[in-house]
């Protein structure tokens, strides 16, 4: 990219309709001249309101100026125009992370990574968000030291910090117990077939593994985030009363979903050979264990 502001400015003046505003605004942003960058990006956006890159760049500058809401709108607009826009997913991932919504943060970062699998910075960001979503050994002494910035969404450099990260895990840290070992102790599948989530799709305990033994808990958790709400909605609107369970028979395994408490969901997964009826019983026993555990740690 040509990074000479003067040359780019002259080029833009010569041809105000050209896309060179993107380069110019980006150079200004990198130099920290955010007001100038914003002016250039905004006028380019006015000319090209259907250009996802223009929305994403505008949003990035807003984010760096501390306007999180404006940045959110901008990145959402970019995604509306181009659903796989990498920078927009990356930016939203950061905003969600900052807001403490780790499930959504992870989803956006993973989308971004699909478009740029070789991006090491992005991979590192995903790892850090994942790490934040599992029980931390001890809470950070100064939250400010934890300013993780999934580069290049850089507001963290400017002192914007994650505010409410991983609240469920603070519970573990305080009680000093290891959730995974106690939660489903004595139950079959405690480490690879039972997963307890909060209403935002964050893992509270348990784990799921795929057939290769890889831990797929977070990916499944992210997908299940809205399921209990959706199940409740469907049951209510279809006159089925309050929802009690959701059974899913699949090609390679069966799953069973129940809500041990109003704001948690328990997923039980077993081999296809386990009949649906027995799966329901296993799930009910695990739900009882989860309720006891939740009462203990609360």
């Amino acid at each position: 990219m040509n990074d000479d502001v003067r040359t780019l400015t002259a080029e833009l003046a010569r041809d105000p309709g050209s896309l060179v505003f993107l380069d110019l605004a980006e150079v200004l942003r990198r130099r920290g001249q955010l007001d100038a960058a914003l002016t250039v990006a905004a006028s380019g956006l006015a000319r090209y309101p259907a250009l996802a890159d223009a929305h994403a760049l505008h949003a990035r500058i807003l984010a760096e100026r501390g306007d999180g809401d404006g940045a959110f709108d901008g990145w959402m607009n970019a995604l509306q125009l181009e659903p796989s826009h990498q920078a927009a997913h990356r930016g939203l991932g950061f905003l969600y992370y900052r807001a403490g919504d780790l499930g959504r943060a992870l989803r956006h970062l993973e989308f971004a990574a699909q478009a740029a699998p070789e991006d090491a910075g992005l991979r590192a960001a995903i790892e850090r968000v994942r790490a934040a979503a599992v029980p931390a050994p001890e809470p950070p002494a100064h939250p400010g030291d934890e300013a993780v910035s999934p580069e290049p969404a850089a507001p963290a450099e400017r002192g914007v910090l994650p505010t409410s990260r991983a609240i469920p895990f603070a519970i573990d840290a305080e009680s000093g117990t290891s959730s995974d070992s106690e939660l489903f102790a004595g139950l079959d599948g405690a480490r690879d077939g039972l997963l307890l989530l909060d209403q935002h799709g964050l893992r509270l305990g348990g784990a799921l593994r795929d057939e290769d033994g890889a831990d797929v808990s977070d990916a499944v958790a992210a997908h299940l985030a809205g399921v209990s709400r959706e199940a409740a909605r469907a049951a209510r609107l279809l006159g089925l009363g309050a929802w009690q369970s959701l059974g899913i028979e699949c090609e390679y395994g069966n799953a069973h979903l129940v809500a041990p408490t109003a704001d948690t969901v328990l997923l039980t997964v077993r081999d296809v050979a386990v009949p649906a009826g027995r799966l329901g019983l296993v799930a009910e026993r695990a739900a009882q264990a989860a309720r006891r555990w939740l009462e203990r740690v609360a």
Binding site: A42, S43, A46, R47, P49
Partner: protein, 200 residues
């Protein structure tokens, strides 16, 4: 009908450029589009045929700025002039706050102007709007053409402007009279709001 938002202090008015085919309605909007800074206008939407004749309407939103503490926006529409497009003309006219009648000053288009004006009255009447209650100004376009081809403003006033409203001589292609016309209709439309029009 104009929308007024008292909470956000915003006014939005709809102004329709009406007139016979090829009298210069779209040209008026194009000139405005070219002169108004980008930050104060939206995209110009033109639903036109290949020959650039307006098929449904042209649309241009512009932001005037603050007037009496209200952020004021105008939505400028044109209608297709050709007589066979009356159905779409009626649709565009719905809810108009003001009308600019763009007449073609050429003597040979005299009858077309009369016919279009009658058509405007009929269409308004059909929507239950008395043309006498509708803010309207006249623009006599193409006054830059040779003298012997065009009618003078006084002659056109006599033939079309029987209500004696404001009228403007114009050459929309080069911009003369475009601004004055828009200013004229803006005043009329906003004056109606100043004395208390019907609610949104």
């Amino acid at each position: 009908m104009s929308l007024v938002n008292f909470t956000a202090r915003e006014i939005t008015c709809k102004i329709v450029y009406y007139g016979p085919g090829r009298s210069g309605k779209t040209t008026n909007l194009q000139y405005v589009f070219g002169r108004v800074p980008e930050t104060r206008r939206g995209r110009m939407v033109s639903l036109a045929t290949h020959g650039d004749r307006t098929l449904f309407f042209d649309f241009l939103p512009i932001e005037l700025g603050s007037i009496s503490g209200f952020t004021t926006r105008f939505q400028l529409y044109t209608v297709p002039g050709q007589s066979y497009y009356n159905a779409t003309r009626k649709l565009v006219l719905q809810g108009a706050d003001g009308v600019v009648f763009v007449a073609d000053s050429q003597a040979r288009r005299f009858d077309d102007n009369i016919e279009s004006l009658q058509n405007l009255q009929e269409n308004l009447l059909e929507q239950g709007v008395d043309v006498r209650q509708m803010p309207i100004v006249f623009q006599y376009n193409k006054q830059d053409l040779p003298r012997d081809l065009v009618l003078a403003r006084a002659d056109l006033d006599e033939a079309l402007n029987f209500r004696g409203v404001e009228s403007f001589a114009a050459d929309a292609l080069h911009g003369s009279g475009v601004f004055e016309t828009l200013k004229g209709i803006s005043e009329l439309v906003l004056r109606k709001l100043a004395v208390g029009g019907p609610a949104a």
